[in-house]
Subunit: 412 residues, 2 copies
């Protein structure tokens, strides 16, 4: 008998009928003899509706009250799912964040989890009930309701699994698992059986949106095995586990891309201390999230600084960069919002030299110009023209041997 | 500086604009230098929507989870109202039933209030904030969410006022106060400045639906002055207070009626011990709420038993009465669903003999036949044919000198 944590998102609990389906899945797991804790999000669209209500009331809603409001979404779902499980003849008890003892800091709308009172859940499980937990919410030291921010339900689930030392945290989603590339982009992409937390972190932050980054970090810190799987069928998905538990050690595990970026270059900047901070501090203060930064070597006392940011932030970033240009008497500013960041990710890179050079050669062979390069221990990213996105992903996927043989054969 | 509890119902907080209006009223009271605690219901229609969702999920929803679900309605309102008060530059903090420390028993969907942790509210008031409380909800000893049942928000408000020893509990409603009769029925009806708890209890239970019975009982037990007033203007409404605080001692304070009744008579019942319980125990078990019961004196070893019940319960009551008739070998059963119960209520009756006889003579003068009579210390009720409702109410209202002189003059 195992202790299994199951997390279902807003789409899976989008209406009464879907909640009944989730209940059947939960009861089936229970009938296999396992203890089950279910974490749910608000019904699809519910949170958006509540946020709209808050905006209608105030252009700048009080954060404490915002959390009181939006946390009702998950509370509705836990009640309905518990009723549905009851309806199938199985005992279930719902728990809000407060009832669970999900303690967070007081940073409303984006609180961090401090600890969970596992004893309360354990006692309810020992009483023979399924426990149905409201994701995304907690309370601070003073008992104020807090929320973890968007996507917080994944984090709630992994945190509960960690506190209970659960055997697995199952994240149910509308995809079959984590793929070597976006199947819509690369038809030969195949599902990975296992992937390490670190690889998953790079994949998630690079745009493979199956699992929230914070949840993966939590899983890594507490060693919680996460099973990302389909809510439509019972086949195995992808296990996100510790590095030593990844059996199939590929050099590269996946190819990802992010089209939601824009590039800004500040030319002819005097190469002196403090220049970078004069540029990036005001950008950060303006809420512009900067991704890749590249600074070339200095030439005749001047250098160029290039960075990427979210496309939606470009119009906010440009006036700031222009102001800094004038202050520094730099040569000029250019920007480009038709770029893509393409990355290869893999633990195997640590031990295999030559991944970068192979990547560059593959792109060169396809006639794709590399505009920026950025590397980490288990990831290499390049910025290329947006029109090369598909070509780059497919070529790299193929070159690093990630293709699903069956799919490849079918494709030929 | 006073401590004022204000309660606003579902219609008053029905949408964003109405919640803003409530916020203005609250802030105005605050600016007059008073401490304010606001109790709110769910937005109009919200609770019905949640109940429908529960019914869609299960024909017999688990009561614990039902409470978790419906309590989200008030939680939404407290967040939105607090935001609106903030928006007017005034500090406000919302409290759910759990945060308030509203302790109840565990009788889900109709819990009773046990106690309230007044210290938490006081500390927040002392911090300079308006406190916005979710009505209708609490938690039991084990921390489970409970609800007080329909109309529970009035009770929450009076209970909070009692716990805080508030100077007044203001109940905002869509009428101007408590009237000597239904103004739609009796044009000369006038607003009472003051009324005792006991009179209000008789008025409320007799169909003057401005204030929940449970709330009045609570007010009476703890001596909370209740001010029923209009949410549309700032004029004084009606104060519901202790008997000794009712200055204007009328013999009769009001005339009320209830058309939602039906009458059933069981004829020729053997007059022996246990007969009444054989009839009324199965009716009670079937959920039929019996109102007036009259049993005539015995004649030749047989008697007649007549009772009234809600019209909607008549079809459930009749087969039960017929079954009892057969068992007791009684003569027959008749029923009539076109009756009205008309009552006069007043503390003054205690000291004034002859109220009953005057009532009967007035009705007789109008040619109205009295079918049943029932009396209590401060109330006399008669059952008459439904078509006499208006005539009876107006004649009694006039005869007991309740008419508004101005209105009477206008009417002439």
């Amino acid at each position: 008998m195992a202790l299994i944590v199951q997390k279902f998102g807003g789409t899976s609990v989008g209406d009464v009928e879907r909640i009944r389906n989730v209940a059947r899945r939960v009861v089936k797991t229970r009938e296999q003899g396992h203890d089950v804790v279910v974490i749910v999000s608000a019904m699809g669209g519910e949170t958006d509706g509540l946020v709209a209500l808050a905006r209608a009331m105030s252009s700048d809603p009080d954060p404490r009250e915002y959390d009181v409001l939006v946390s009702t979404g998950e509370q509705k779902t836990i009640a309905l799912l518990s009723m549905a499980i009851h309806g199938l003849g199985c005992s279930a008890r719902s728990m809000t964040g407060a009832q669970l003892g999900m303690r967070t800091d007081s940073d409303h709308t984006r609180a961090r989890i401090l600890d969970i009172d596992a004893a309360r859940v354990r006692a309810t499980l020992d009483g023979g009930s399924v426990v149905v937990v409201a994701g995304f919410q907690g309370t601070d030291e003073a008992g104020n309701i807090t929320t973890l921010g968007r996507g917080g339900s994944d984090t709630s689930a992994v945190a509960v699994a960690a506190a209970l030392e659960a055997d697995v945290c199952e994240i149910y989603t509308d995809v079959d698992g984590v793929f070597t590339a976006d199947p819509h982009m690369v038809p030969t992409a195949r599902k990975l059986a296992r992937i390490s937390y670190d690889e998953m972190l790079e994949m998630a932050s690079l745009g493979a949106k199956v699992l929230q980054i914070r949840a993966v970090k939590f899983g890594k810190r507490y060693g919680v095995p996460i099973h990302v799987r389909s809510s439509f069928h019972e086949g195995e998905g992808t296990w996100v586990v510790q590095e030593e538990d990844v059996m199939e050690r590929l050099v590269v595990s996946g190819v990802t891309y992010n089209r939601d970026e824009a590039k800004v270059t500040l030319f002819g900047v005097p190469d002196q201390p403090g220049v970078a901070s004069r540029l990036f501090v005001p950008l950060s203060e303006a809420g512009v999230v900067v991704d890749v930064i590249v600074q070339n070597v200095s030439s005749q006392g001047h250098t160029d600084i290039t960075f990427t940011c979210a496309r939606g932030d470009l119009n906010r970033a440009l006036p700031i960069v222009e102001k800094v240009r004038a202050e520094l008497d730099a040569a000029g500013v250019t920007s480009d919002d038709s770029i893509t960041k393409v990355s290869v990710v893999g633990l195997g890179m640590k031990d295999h030299a030559g991944v970068a050079s192979r990547m560059f050669r593959v792109l060169s062979d396809e006639g794709i110009n590399i505009q920026m390069i950025n590397t980490s221990e288990i990831k290499i990213s390049v910025v290329v023209g947006e029109r090369y996105t598909e070509l780059a992903c497919r070529a790299l996927h193929d070159a690093f041997g990630l293709a699903d043989q069956d799919a490849t054969e079918e494709a030929h």
